[in-house]
Structure formats: structure tokens, C-alpha cells
């Protein structure tokens, strides 16, 4: 049977390298072809998992713990599908975007290809050291993409991001070193059965280091300082990729570590602490988003806030009954998918608005409702998911999380989610209200190419439809 797993990693590596040899600014068509292939491969893999359960692929034929294994289960399949699904419309969007901003185009396509290769490799890897290498590949690609526009702001943001991400992966690698020292292997399959409740304290310290490193890379409050300048200052397609996908990769790793590898030693206290930090992110991020005067910074702070919801998953799934934990797990993963789709659409819509009006302040988008109805509609649809209104995917995710919170008696998270929902409605409506005002007289609207509007509308619609079709995603999640 044809195995799509290695090809999901090789395909972006190949087209990215070919795009590099092709020349600066080239590679868009390679990207389109590659992504269509990758989406097909991800769908094939999902089908194989639903039919046959967890899939393992021993690279080199050696098998863990001597060699490196690739593993795919329901969660990997969901993340892989999310990555390719979000990236494909963004490729079309980016092609159109860079015809206007050609000076940022230098080597954008190879960098994006390596970023996608890193993400696919991360989701498939079953070896903690190999995961470190993929994390570095991902981090360097993301930093390179942030810096691609130039200018003191983005370069500073890229430098901060780079230092933060290196600190995070450094902490992670120390954890890996400790695990190898204690157990003699870096393979997840070999390590998981060895970690039981009576492990040496060093293993708990390694777990803490690895989790802290990933929290820094996921920009969890209070480690979020690097995210708004980086996501707000990058070109719109880059911001979309970063907010929708890159930070989900390190969150995926936290899920793996918490629920698979270190499951016997996770404590309820640590879970509540993670939830508290998540709550802080939701409230602080939303408040700061409200105070922003620039469009992309508002959306970037919205990312900080929405990431907080993801961390509410941990107190709701640790130390509670199995049904509550399952409900929380489903809600958290659904939030990952919904936010990925919606945030990509939101950043892309905002990028289109900025391109059309030539200004990036919120005050500058007056009149967009009349001139760019499609783009504003995309923004509004994405906003529906961010706010958590039915029938969107965001609503379904929050519904599951709320249900888990009520069923386990942790009502304080309910308060957080409700307040967070109200605050996100406030900042989404802040933008919408401004867009419906009549345009200023001196306002000058450039016509937008179709590719700048339609692909991202699809993404926003997908995030909406996710609420209705979420059962499919959840059944894939539970398939293995």
C-alpha cells in the first residue's frame, strides 16, 4: 500500500529547494502544485487512519529505538489536514499579494516550503530529538519570513522572535538530553511505557523544561511579548501562516507531551496553572486588542487571546472523569482547527484592506463596507468564529469546553470564556463599525485582484461550516 507519510515531508522539501534554485521571486507555481499534492496525501493518510488505526513508518528500515519512526494517529491527521488546507488558499492569496509588494518577494516561496516541510515533519515524528530538529527548521523559517519585508520594525520583531524561539527550543533540548540520560532512548514509543508514576525527579524536571520551552514558543501569557510585533509587522500572508499554523505546531507538541509521554506524572496543580495562564492570555490579550489603533496589531493580539482558550483544555482534561476529559480534548482540538482557519482568513482580509486603502490604521478603513464588501464579509465571518457565535467552529469548540467545565464543577473557566467572548465581540465590532462608516473624501481605494479576496473567503466559510461538519473532524480525531 502506498504510504503518504514520507511524501508529506519530502514534497515541500523538494519544491522549496527547486524554487530556491529557480531564483529569487520564483516558485509560486511549484508551491501550488506541491500543496495540491500534499493536500491529497493528507486526505489519503486520514483515510488510512480511519480504516486501519495508528500508522507507523520506520525510516531506514531500522525501527525505534535505534532508528527514527514516523507515526500518524488521529491528532496528527487533523493537524496535517489543517496545515495543507490553510496553506493552499494562502498560496493563491500570496501570489496576488506580492504582485503589489514585489520587494518582499525575495525567496518567500522557498522559505514557505521549508516551513510547511517542518510542520509536516513535526506532526509525523515519533522521536523527541527529531522533533527538536523540526522545531528549529520551523523556527528559522518563521523568523526568515518575518524579516522578509525589511524595515526596522520587522527586523527587530524577527530578532526578538528568534531569541525567544531559540530559548524555547534550548529548554526543550535540555529536557531531551535528560530523558536520554535517564532512559537511553529518544523514541516516543520506547519512552512512553518507561515513564510511570515513580520516575526519578529528573524526569519531572525534564518535563517542566520541555513544556516551558514550548509555552514560550506558543506565546502563552506571560511569554507572549514576541508575538504581536512579529505577527503584526510581517506581510499579511506571513502573518496568516504564523498565527494560523506555526504556533499550533508547538501547541501540538505540548498536547503530545502532556497526554502521551508524561501522562503518568502530570498533576492537577500544573494543569490548573496552565489554565490560569490561559485565562490570563484570554483576558489580557483581548483587553490589549481593544486598545490597538492598527489593524494587524489588533488581529495579532487577538491571536494571543485565542491561544488562551487552547490552554483551558488542560485543567478540563486532567484529573476529571473520562467523558469530561474526552469532551475537553475534542473542544480544544476543534478550537485549534477553527482558530487556524479563521485567523488565516482574518489576517488575509486585513491585508487586502490595507492593500486597497494604503493605510493600516483602523481609522483608515472607513468605507470598506461599500467598496470591498467581499473582504469585509470574510473578516466578519472569521470574526464569528473568533467570537464563538453559532453555528461556527469556534462556537462548537467553546460549547464543548463549557460543557466540560460545568460537568467537572470548574465554573471559574466558564466565567473566563464568557468574558473572553464578550471582549472578542467588542474588538471585532470595533473594526466592523469603522468599516461601515462612510469613506473620507480623500480616501483612495485601489481595485483588488480576485485572488486577494476569494481564496480567503473559502477559509472563512470553512471555519463557519466546521461547526456544522465538526463531527467529521472529531471522528477522525478519535479514529486512532
Amino acid at each position: 500500500m502506498f504510504d503518504p507519510m514520507p511524501w508529506l515531508i519530502l514534497s515541500p522539501l523538494i519544491w522549496a529547494t527547486l524554487a530556491f534554485v529557480h531564483g529569487p521571486g520564483r516558485g509560486a507555481r511549484l508551491a501550488v502544485a506541491g500543496l495540491i499534492l500534499q493536500l491529497a496525501l493528507a486526505a489519503m493518510l486520514a483515510q488510512q487512519i480511519v480504516a486501519g488505526g495508528v500508522r507507523v513508518y520506520a525510516v531506514g528500515g531500522w525501527g525505534a529505538p535505534l532508528g527514527i519512526d514516523l507515526t500518524a494517529d488521529g491528532l496528527s491527521a487533523v493537524m496535517l489536514l489543517l496545515t495543507q488546507t490553510v496553506a493552499l488558499p494562502l498560496v493563491f492569496y500570496a501570489r496576488a499579494y506580492f504582485t503589489d509588494h514585489a520587494n518582499s518577494l525575495r525567496y518567500f516561496w522557498p522559505l514557505t516550503g521549508y516551513l510547511l516541510a517542518a510542520m509536516n515533519a513535526l506532526f509525523l515524528s515519533a522521536d523527541v530529538f527529531n522533533i527538536y530538529v523540526t522545531l528549529e527548521l520551523l523556527g528559522l523559517a518563521a523568523v526568515g519570513l518575518v524579516a522578509v519585508a525589511g524595515g526596522a520594525g520587522p527586523i527587530t520583531a524577527a530578532m526578538r522572535y528568534l531569541l525567544a524561539t531559540l530559548l524555547g527550543s534550548g529548554a526543550y533540548l535540555l529536557g531531551v538530553a535528560l530523558l536520554y540520560g535517564v532512559y537511553g532512548s529518544v523514541s516516543l514509543a520506547a519512552l512512553t511505557p518507561l515513564i510511570a508514576a515513580d520516575t526519578p525527579a529528573v524526569v519531572s524536571l525534564a518535563a517542566a523544561l520541555m513544556l516551558l520551552g514550548m509555552m514560550l514558543k506558543t506565546a502563552l501569557f506571560p511569554f507572549h511579548f514576541w508575538l504581536p510585533p512579529a505577527h503584526g509587522g510581517a506581510p499579511a500572508p506571513v502573518s496568516a501562516l504564523l498565527s494560523a499554523l506555526v504556533i499550533k505546531a508547538s501547541f501540538y507538541l505540548i498536547l503530545r507531551l502532556w497526554f502521551d509521554l508524561f501522562a503518568p506524572i502530570t498533576s492537577v496543580t500544573a494543569a490548573q496553572l496552565l489554565g490560569a495562564l490561559g485565562a490570563g492570555a484570554v483576558l489580557w490579550g483581548s483587553l490589549l486588542a481593544l486598545r490597538q489603533t492598527h489593524l494587524k496589531m489588533l488581529v495579532a493580539y487577538s491571536t494571543v487571546a485565542q491561544l488562551g482558550y487552547l490552554f483551558l483544555l488542560f485543567p478540563l482534561a486532567t484529573g476529571v472523569s473520562a467523558e469530561v476529559a474526552a469532551s475537553a480534548w475534542q473542544g480544544g482540538v476543534l478550537q485549534v482547527v477553527a482558530h487556524g482557519l479563521a485567523k488565516a482568513a482574518m489576517f488575509a482580509a486585513v491585508g487586502a484592506m490595507i492593500t486597497a486603502t494604503g493605510r493600516d490604521e483602523i481609522l483608515g478603513i472607513a468605507g470598506v463596507a461599500a467598496r470591498l464588501p467581499l473582504t469585509l464579509f470574510t473578516f466578519a465571518l472569521a470574526g464569528v468564529t473568533i467570537m464563538g457565535l453559532p453555528p461556527s467552529g469556534g462556537f462548537a469548540a467553546k460549547w464543548l469546553l463549557l460543557g466540560a467545565a460545568l460537568a467537572s464543577g470548574q465554573w471559574w473557566w466558564v466565567v473566563v470564556m464568557v468574558v473572553g467572548g464578550l471582549l472578542s465581540a467588542a474588538y471585532v465590532f470595533k473594526v466592523l463599525r469603522q468599516a461601515f462608516l462612510p469613506a473620507e473624501e480623500a480616501a483612495n481605494f485601489k481595485p483588488l485582484p480576485r485572488m486577494l479576496e476569494w481564496p480567503v473567503l473559502l477559509l472563512a466559510l470553512a471555519s463557519l461550516v466546521l461547526g456544522l461538519g465538526g463531527g467529521e473532524v472529531l471522528s477522525l480525531l478519535g479514529a486512532a
Binding site: 530559548l167 531531551v176 536520554y180 504581536p228
Partner: protein, 106 residues
């Protein structure tokens, strides 16, 4: 205490020194150097812990080789960015946040 364990303990000390330097030092070149010290510390821990019984182990040695290469790549990118900042802002430090829109973030 075997020799390898001494390496591991030294690695621990280097790691914390590197982390502290990375966070606290304002000058970018020193931050990058601190990152390299942190990396070297991690590699020492990896090799030292694995070989604490005295038998050589090629797997962590190969992993350290990979880690060194990755650290070189990261250092190169960091230096290029620092150099850009130097050209643009005149000094090798991260510019402080401007007043105004960015003022209130943490």
C-alpha cells in the same frame, strides 16, 4: 563520580549561565554568544549523562553533531539580523518599544 558526570555538571552550569545571559544582556552579540554557551552546555549534558557509566555511546555524539550544525545555522541568521539592526539603528541592541501604540504591551 565519573569523568562524564563532571562534564554533565559543567554542562548544567553553562546552560544556566547561557540562559541568564540570553535574557539579561542587552547587547545583541552577547545574547548570541550566551545562546551558544547555552547550546554547548546542553551538548555536554547530553554526552556526559549518556556516558556516565564509562562506555562510549555513538548515538548522543551524532545527536550533538546535529545540534552543533543547527546552532551554527541559528547563530548565522541571528548575526545577520543583528547586523541589519546595526546598519539601520546604529547600535547592536534591540530598540526599546516606541511610545504610542506599542506602549501598553508587556
Amino acid at each position: 563520580m565519573s569523568t562524564a558526570l563532571v562534564y554533565a555538571l559543567t554542562g548544567t552550569a553553562l546552560f544556566v549561565l547561557g540562559v541568564a545571559g540570553l535574557i539579561l544582556q542587552p547587547h545583541l552579540l552577547r545574547k548570541i554568544l550566551a545562546f551558544n554557551i547555552m547550546g554547548s552546555g546542553i551538548f555536554l549534558v547530553l554526552v556526559g549523562l549518556a556516558q556516565r557509566a564509562g562506555t562510549p555511546d555513538p548515538v548522543p555524539q551524532a545527536m550533538v553533531l546535529t545540534g552543533i550544525v543547527v546552532a551554527i545555522a541559528a547563530t548565522a541568521l541571528a548575526l545577520a539580523l543583528a547586523r541589519q539592526l546595526l546598519d539601520m539603528c546604529g547600535e547592536m541592541r534591540l530598540p526599546e518599544e516606541k511610545t504610542g501604540k506599542d506602549r501598553l504591551d508587556v
